[in-house]
Amino acid sequence: MSTARYSGVPRWVHLPAAAGALFIVLPLVALATRVEWGEFWSLITSDSSRAALLLSLRTSSMATLLCVVLGVPMALVLARTSFRGQSLLRSLVLLPLVLPPVVGGIALLYTFGRKGLLGETIDVLGLQIAFSTTAVVIAQTFVSLPFLVVSLEGTLRTAGQRYEIVASTLGAPPTTVLRRITLPLVLPGLAAGAVLSFARALGEFGATITFAGSLEGVTRTLPLEIYLQRESNPDAAVALSLVLVVVAVLVIGLVRGTGSRAG
């Protein structure tokens, strides 16, 4: 018999833990049992389904990229510098996490819409944001950015700055330190944050439908397609829901895999 550590977790804790796990797993099982397996393939490969899936993957990837580009600097500033009003800024940055997505969508509409805060500027630049795929990416980025920032800020704080200090005493200017020391060392945390953002962007609904509208191939992402289909073709809605669940599980599994390898 192999040796194992004594865990010290009280026995009764396993009961509510199992209940919690069941709470999450049962609805997924219910979904899987409702699927019309005979028609499954044709349902998920129909034109509208394919368009929705490809659009979702495209926009979520774009949104995740934006989250990384904007979120890494934000996390660095929040974790490593200190200035007046920093905790207020942090609270505001985390707002999309607690805001109902529809509220987020309305806010985005009043910012980027034709009559919005930046509406005239966007018009002048000849850009078209409302009803476009760009709007979808904006909506998804808005709701998933906090995930990356929070996750990475936590990692940066835990990692501390000891290695960075050593690197600067060796003569490395701040950008070199960031490039060769900080980022490589927080890469696992960054990857985990990026995956969380991707998963959130993939499932985004409220802000998208309010801000971007719904048009096949342009703005109708998979969640929107499911919402539309559930009235006219419930079987398609269930099949597509399962697809979304599978994609989410794959993505999360990928991250946990790389995380435990690097950790």
Binding site: I165, V166, S168, T169, L170, G171, A172, P174, L185
Partner: protein, 348 residues
Amino acid sequence: MSLHLSARVDERDVEIDLDVADGQTVAILGPNGSGKSTVLSVVAGILRPGRGRAVLDDTTLFDLPDRSWTAPHERGTGLLAQDPLLFPHLSVLDNVAFGPRSSGTSRTASRRIARTWLDEVDAGQLADRKPSALSGGQAQRVAIARALAAEPRLLLLDEPMAALDITVVPAMRQVLRRVLADRTAVIVTHDVLDALLLADHVVVMEHGRVVEQGPTKDVLARPRSSFGAGIAGLNLARGTIEERAVRTPGGLVVAGLHGDEDVPEGVAAVAVFSPGAVSVHRERPTGSPRNVWATTVRELEPRGSQVRIQTGALSADVTAPVVAELDLVPGTEIFLAIKASEVAIYAA
């Protein structure tokens, strides 16, 4: 490269004035919390003092408040701590090559420089390993090589041997002795052997202030501070001269030999003597010793084949059989005696 430093850090209550001549190694000794590491942080640029000025050769490292401040990566000061802090994601070779690479040297040239320095510290064969595969001593050698490869103008070492296995320390000390030979360096340590073997000059700090400084041998042979005396393994009584003896504020009177010149009456002075020269008695002794003190045993501390008897202000070294014979335990009332000829008195 000579260093001049004078600075004040209010948050840590540290005030320091320090000069290191070109090619000299200065050791900063002191108890924990005396501010030694703060001094290094200030020189390296990790800590920004409220007030002060430091000049390394012709470069002003900082002149505060408000005049100038050089960032750490532009100072040319190398830092070595007790934790080697080798970059875990780089190989040993790339770790050592980091300094040259950061200043623009090509990867090939940097690696060549790195190999030279690894050989210098007898760690050449470790070049392709990852830091996680090194022992404490090996990692510290690599850290030294890494610091030196960056060609620092001033080397700062913060208790570099404190985390090492005691069996590895002598070898490491040899390495440091070799590389510090012609370098300007400041080494913070609490080990007196480090000071003796590596430093030309010693500075003793207590409570954030310099309480003593001078050439190594002088300070250790004739310490004027409690810590200095402590690590030199000596007893020290501080007070003023009264009838040729030192009278401490606590009422202790120690008679001894003055140096080449007598210290005048009323002047602040210290009396220094070795614990080994102190004899312990259960009853007040008679005979030649001029110094006899009644005191109580506070603590017994084994030191190799001897036992050090601590009584608060003074300590005495005796052999174990003596302890058993006199039935000495904490709380026992005893008399300590020492001949005046074994005590040295000099001005504080």
